[in-house]
């Protein structure tokens, strides 16, 4: 077991190293930030001093070396635009993104699993067909356009819900959260549903496929034959067994939700890291872009690692195969 975890950890470190290199060298090929940040009336000397202060005059491998050294100390450079540490900017906005991502995961499970089980239990019913057709639609609808339409209908036409920002926040364990105030909850609802649509379709399909398979198994037939109520058969015998694939996929998709929140955050002006990334790309604020990518990649690798380890705990075959090979 520990061999397995150590091996996975080493692999993850390798990936982090490769990714940091790709990201750093890639981003540093993009336009020249001096042109954008130095004002036109600066003299040549002033520009040179400016360049030296930002460390842009050194060779690129040296810049990378200092970048790695500093990154290990938790310093990912200062934002050109905000003149604040890039890491601090990201960490300030991270709770907003995580709140949005978790809220949409919650919605997709709470709505997706019951619908999926229902469609799986009665595959031929008209209502099931409607559910499945909407799940295809959920896959096909471009997230950003659905977000726009939500704003159009619920904010502009009906005026029920606010369209931008986070609303009132309260402090929970030292983190600002929206979902504890009524105003914040109203602000959270549209973006969370928007982000959840895609995952919801996925959960519906997984739950339906799982239910159709499980419902034919002998132990379900036996439970029915024992005279258990339909409710108990569904909630205990079927639900438990379809949860394994659903949980695995959702664990892996958490990263996807965080990445995709870029789109939703831009539409709803949600002050998270995704919106920060898009703004930074457009302003060529390289340190923030690099810091965002490094943090996201770290998060991804962590999520994949945890899912892998959990999987090997749940299913010994995975672990044994890896040790053998």
């Amino acid at each position: 077991m520990s061999v397995f975890i150590i091996r996975r950890l080493l692999q993850s470190l390798g990936v982090i190293f490769v990714m940091s290199m790709i990201v750093f060298f890639g981003v540093n090929v993009v336009g020249n930030p001096v042109d954008i940040l130095a004002s036109d009336d600066m003299t040549q000397e002033q520009i040179q001093a400016f360049v030296a202060r930002l460390g842009l005059d050194r060779p690129i491998y040296e810049q990378y070396w200092y970048f790695v050294l500093n990154a290990l100390r938790g310093d990912l450079g200062n934002s050109f635009v905000f003149a604040e540490p890039a890491l601090k900017l990201i960490l300030q906005r991270l709770p907003a993104t995580l709140e949005l991502a978790l809220a949409s995961m919650f919605l997709s499970v709470v709505i997706g699993i019951p619908l999926g089980i229902y469609a799986g239990l009665r595959p031929e019913a008209r209502s099931s067909k409607v559910i499945m057709a909407s799940s295809i639609l959920g896959f096909s609808l471009p997230t950003f356009w659905v977000g726009l339409m939500f704003i159009m209908v619920f904010a502009v036409m009906l005026g029920w819900l606010p369209s931008t920002g986070r609303g009132d926040t309260t402090e929970l364990l030292g983190i600002q959260v929206s979902f504890l105030t009524w105003d914040g909850l109203q602000h959270l609802l549209l973006p969370a549903i928007n982000l959840a649509l895609f995952k919801m379709s996925l959960v519906i399909r997984l739950a339906r496929a799982g239910t159709r398979e499980v419902a034919l198994q002998d132990y379900v037939k036996f439970a029915r034959a024992k005279g258990l109520s339909a409710r108990r058969v569904v909630l205990v015998h079927i639900m438990k067994n379809i949860m394994i694939p659903v949980v695995t996929v959702l664990g892996l998709e958490l990263g996807g939700v965080i990445a995709f929140s870029v789109v939703t955050e831009t539409v709803f002006a949600w002050p998270g890291i995704g919106k920060l990334l898009i703004d930074s790309i457009q302003l060529l604020d390289r340190p923030v872009v690099v810091a965002y990518l490094i943090i996201t990649v770290l998060m991804f690798i962590l999520i994949n690692l945890v899912v892998d380890i959990l999987y090997s705990v749940l299913d010994p075959r995975v672990r044994l195969k890896d040790v053998k090979s």
């Binding site: 950003f144 339409m149 369209s163």
Partner: protein
């Protein structure tokens, strides 16, 4: 009398039907058009492609000809009449362009980028996947590790990194989409090639001492194509959606190449004042395109799947 007819009918039924050769293509088409939804989606897709191809002849106005576009016509609601006399069926945008024409032209760009990146990714992914499957061993292990690594990151994130690095432009967006997608093709083609490779006809070809190239491209490849067709349809839909997303975020295509995503993005600022049509209709066009491609792809998967052989 009646018995004779019955007898005749019985012999007619017992007689083998006309020796019509059922070609695989005909069987495939019949199976495909069995589903009414798929048939409708296919018709829709044909219509969309036709509109994209013949946009300049179908549009009421050339939306990018400054001599034709009149700023006085800006933000007209659907159904209002233009200064030039024709009707804005879908309204006009902030610069006075007819939305219907802008959508026709936008479809061209969106479909063009989607199909181009899908095909290039398919070519690259296919070659890499075939190489991995045919040579096996270390080559296979290295290639599949890279594929796994790439697929563990969501497409939107990789595409964002790439356009952040490369900048705006049609060629750059296509590069980003190809980079995101090749791995799906490589994995699919490797899977089917591994199965095919162990069959007798490949063994026979190897015994005949044919060149690697000939075996891979003339024997192995044609037999790996059916699953690829499915992947290429679904991935093209994905590419179109991804391009629209990138363009909407302002990091995809430049304003000079107004795809559907950019049209939607341009309408965003007018949305708050209730001028829904500038964003709504391009989105609807995008949706129709993606849904019809996905439905066609789903049906192709059902028809081409050997496990569901009827």
């Amino acid at each position: 009398m009646s018995t004779t007819t019955e007898h005749l009918q019985a012999t007619a039924a017992a007689m083998p039907t006309a020796p019509r050769v059922e070609s695989p293509l005909r069987r495939f088409t019949a199976a495909f058009f069995e589903s009414r939804i798929a048939t409708a989606a296919f018709g829709m897709l044909l219509l969309v492609v036709a509109i994209a191809l013949f946009a300049p002849w179908l549009s009421p106005q050339d939306p990018y000809d400054l001599a034709v576009v009149d700023i006085m016509d800006s933000r007209m609601a659907p159904g209002e009449e233009a200064m030039a006399g024709f009707t804005f069926w879908l309204g006009s945008d902030g610069a006075g362009r007819d939305m219907l024409s802008a959508i026709f032209y936008g479809l061209r760009i969106s479909l063009g980028v989607g199909v181009a990146s899908g095909l290039i990714a398919m070519l690259i992914g296919m070659c890499i996947g075939l190489t991995a499957a045919y040579f096996g061993g270390r080559v296979d292990a290295v290639i599949m590790r890279i594929v796994d690594l790439q697929l563990s990151f969501p497409a939107i994130l990789v595409a964002l990194i790439l356009v952040a690095i490369l900048g705006k432009g049609v060629d750059k967006v296509i590069i980003a989409l190809v980079t995101v997608q090749w791995a799906y093709y490589a994995r699919t083609v490797r899977g089917s090639a591994l199965v095919e490779r162990s069959k007798e006809y490949i063994e026979a070809a190897t015994c005949l001492a044919l060149s690697h190239r000939r075996i891979v491209f003339r024997h192995l490849l044609p037999n790996c194509l059916p699953p690829m067709i499915v992947v290429v349809t679904l991935q093209t839909a994905h590419a179109i959606s991804l391009e629209a997303t990138l363009s909407f975020l302002g990091v995809g295509l430049p304003q000079t190449e107004p795809s559907l995503g950019l049209l939607i993005s341009n309408g965003f600022e007018y949305m708050m004042s209730g001028k829904y049509w500038i964003s709504f209709f391009p989105g609807l066009a995008l949706l129709i395109t993606i849904v019809s491609i996905n439905l066609v792809g789903d049906q192709l998967r059902d028809v081409l799947n050997p496990r569901l052989e009827r």
